[in-house]
Symmetry: C2
Subunit: 508 residues, 2 copies
């Protein structure tokens, strides 16, 4: 490498570091949440959720322990079917905390859930990855590590999410060990553990204990499980067992009905919203029956289907309305709220992808969401995480951070002195007020191109995906692993080796 | 053409017609407007606008008639510089109507301005056009006509805007005649006339009179002028003369400060907002001094610049905040409000274009805008109108129409019967409730692709731009000109011929 390019690399690296160093660990929304529905409509939705739980009921399948907890709490039990008097489930949720801290390996990255706080996290759950050069392919552990690194490097992502993608090159019963290790080793922000089996949740907790200490974790949140409901109105034992494992350890659960209206619920939005509210309350209640005061997030993931093909659709107007409405129900529960994300059915990071993603994401922010994972990388209805899409979405998270910071209307911002200096009809580029503010006034996008047509053409007429390709490659090239105590690293690796040695590979 | 393809074409054509026939002439927003700022902040902004008009002042250049109107109304005049006591300009705006009808050539396309109504219109003002096959090139009259036709065919665009693109193949002093003719002949929705010179505004009015009748136009709005302020704090005589021409005829003006913060105003959003408020009030006041009760729209077009290059930027978080705030100021004036649009600096309809466009447009809708032109086609900071972008944007207008229709929370929408029919854990695709609602519950996007990856690949892995190319070509192929009284058409053509014969071509 020439001396010039070495110097440039070292300069670039210090830029990458400093952008991370100045980044907020989480956001605090200064703007009011948007209130779509009035009191009467909200009460009607809550009443309907109560009707569902008392008249239709909800099933917890293959988990007698969970059913027994609800029996003792006063639910009406008929085999696996639970029914609740109106208001009962909501009352069982009352011990859930309204706000709490989630600790990161790096304490400067601790986040606060609830209130007016807002946390962005990466995508979750894709079996495929894609980039514009390599195309779409099954994800590997290397991809998983890459996305952890990109999350670490992004100043606009606060939470690493969990199963960013499925490392399908690792056995199903062992990959959670490599994933949790990657979360703990290649980044230092908060993350989620495994939920695919209770013993994998236990492993996730054990690895977190190596890093954070068993005693610390008895009182403090460091890891979460991402729990989906098997809608309509069913919890399966995989989810409830993982939920109980995290709650029993006083760790977190993010509980989200994932409802595609018309399939897993009736087609109409009010039904979807009320059903989701009923479902999520039962999950929240279960965390509190296992461990009163256990931290939990009220989640929702409500979307639509194409009624000709049955395919899921995202960023649709109906899902926007559902997001706005259910956020109000969560606020009336007084719990941290998760919804939204940069969601799309598009296979590539084209116009459709960004139109749908922006449509899906921005209402969640306006609605007052506290936790938005799936905020970077989603493509193809979640089947794929895209490298270009990831950095494009992350930049949009930066823009949203500027929006939630709001406006301050004071003398300095009103700039009376600038008018006295510039006079009428003249431009303000050179006035002192502009000099005082030009570094901080505007969010600076890196991927959005505002150059003149001629300049853009001469630079190769690159679309946003092509510029994003260059950005994520540069970021990975400049990545430096954050420090870890070598003894802790050794202990983690030892734990993984022992656990892997104790099992045969399972591939399904 | 084979019989099968004839049948398909005829089927397609009837579909295109029926989608237009069922389209609403305008929208009525059921959702509350988003309120970003509190009373104290809003009063502060209004006070600062008053301060600007009393301490700094505003200039009206080369239009002594306009200055004289303000002198008679009590402004303090110093040459071309006008100053106003606090509250004075606002008081002069009080005769402007809060709501009014704009008449279309087809009465079924009449629109209502103000209140909770919402009108979408096409882009305005581009010298260039582009499509993915033909690339970027100067616009011609054929392009202008094509975009009128596409606007006519779109069920989601209610207003034809005005100078959709500049037909640069026609002489500068004559092209307004061909543009107004295209508006009146190739579509039947409301539109804007010429503002580039008073005599061109007079020609626009004269042509409208041929269609609507002179007497009808004395009492009814059928044509508008799009007036921009020469910010900071200057109106030039081109704009004020056109404004006075339309107002004197009791026709409409849409008055919008176009401010790129940091250049035509200080850099900080509160200053931009207060300045825009001051500027637009002066224009509104002028319409009322010319003709009390003349219909006028409170417009704003506030955006940012890239502070490294000075290039304008769109869909930025700062412009979102400005849009949300100034909408509140307009609402306190009680006037129809114009802002927003599908705006972008991107040169092509890629991810950047749709991310920025959605970012720019959706807050305008949430903010309670009444009139959003620039809603379809914008590219390259307005320098280009794109064919693919046009139909992509128009589809998003359809999605927004669904959002503003809001949610109705009643028994039918809550779907209690669907749960009794489906039972727990089963899908709802076949239940009666779904059958009752599947045709109308969800907005149906035509360009957004939700098919599985394999199906999408087999169909050619087309991105949204490629699908959009097919759509706009199909639309133009199926276009049928709306009927017009042949005597009126002849009179229009005769007027144009006489006016063209009266002038030498001017090319600048």
């Amino acid at each position: 490498m020439s001396r010039a390019s070495t110097r440039r690399r070292s300069h670039d690296r210090s830029r990458a570091k400093s952008s991370l160093a100045g980044a907020p660990a989480y956001l605090t929304r200064k703007n009011p949440a948007y209130e779509l529905l009035d009191e009467e409509a909200l009460v009607r939705l809550e009443d309907h959720a109560d009707w569902l739980l008392s008249e239709i009921g909800i099933e917890i399948r293959d988990d007698p322990e969970a059913v027994e907890l609800f029996r003792q709490a006063g639910a009406t039990i008929d085999g696996e079917l639970l029914r609740f008097d109106p208001g009962h489930v909501r009352a069982l949720c009352q011990t859930a905390p309204a706000t709490y801290t989630m600790h990161a390996r790096n304490p400067a990255r601790n986040i606060e859930f609830g209130g007016t706080n807002l946390v962005f996290g990466s995508a979750y759950g894709s079996p495929f990855v894609s980039d514009i050069k390599g195309g779409r392919r099954y994800a590997t552990l290397e991809d998983f590590q890459n996305f952890i690194k990109l999350t670490y490097l992004s100043p606009w992502l606060h939470h690493q999410s969990g199963t960013i993608c499925e490392p399908v090159d690792i056995a199903v019963n062992k990959r959670h060990l490599d994933m949790v290790y990657a979360h703990l080793r290649y980044s230092d922000k908060p993350f989620m553990g495994s939920v695919t089996a209770p013993e994998r949740a236990e492993d996730s907790l054990a690895m977190a204990q190596i890093v954070f200490g068993e005693k610390f974790m008895q009182e403090n949140l460091v890891i979460q499980g991402n729990i989906n409901v098997n809608s309509p109105l069913v919890y399966d034992n995989t989810m409830t067992a993982a939920l109980r494992t995290y709650a029993a350890a006083n760790q977190g659960n993010v509980i989200s009905p994932f409802i595609m209206g018309g399939a897993m619920s009736p087609l109409t939005q009010p039904a979807i919203i009320a059903q989701a509210h009923a479902e999520v309350m039962v999950g929240i209640a279960l965390t509190q029956l296992v461990k009163p005061g256990a931290p939990v997030v009220y989640g929702s993931f409500l979307t639509t289907i194409d009624l000709k093909s049955g395919a899921p659709t995202f960023g649709t107007p109906e899902s926007t309305l559902a997001t706005l409405a259910i956020s109000q129900l969560s606020r009336r529960m007084g719990l941290p709220f998760r919804c939204g994300g940069h969601l799309t059915a598009s296979k590539i990071a084209d116009g459709q992808a960004m139109q749908e993603s922006t449509n899906a994401m921005n209402p969640a922010v306006m609605a007052g969401a506290n936790f938005i994972f799936q905020a970077a990388g989603w493509l193809e209805s979640g089947l794929t995480i895209g490298y270009e899409k990831f950095v494009m979405d992350a930049e949009q998270c930066g823009a949203l951070a500027r929006i939630v910071a709001g406006l301050e209307i004071d003398d300095e911002q009103l700039a009376g002195d600038a008018y006295r200096e510039a006079g009428i009809g003249n431009n303000f580029l050179g006035v002192e007020h502009t000099m005082r503010h030009y570094k901080s006034a505007n969010f600076r996008a890196e991927l959005a191109d505002a150059t003149p047509f001629e300049q853009w053409s001469e630079a190769g007429s690159k679309d946003m995906q092509q510029r994003a390709y260059e950005l994520w490659n540069r970021m990975l090239a400049e990545y430096e692993v954050p420090p870890i105590d070598p003894a802790i690293d050794e202990a983690l690796l030892g734990f993984i080796a022992r656990r892997k040695a104790s099992m045969e590979d399972a591939w399904y």
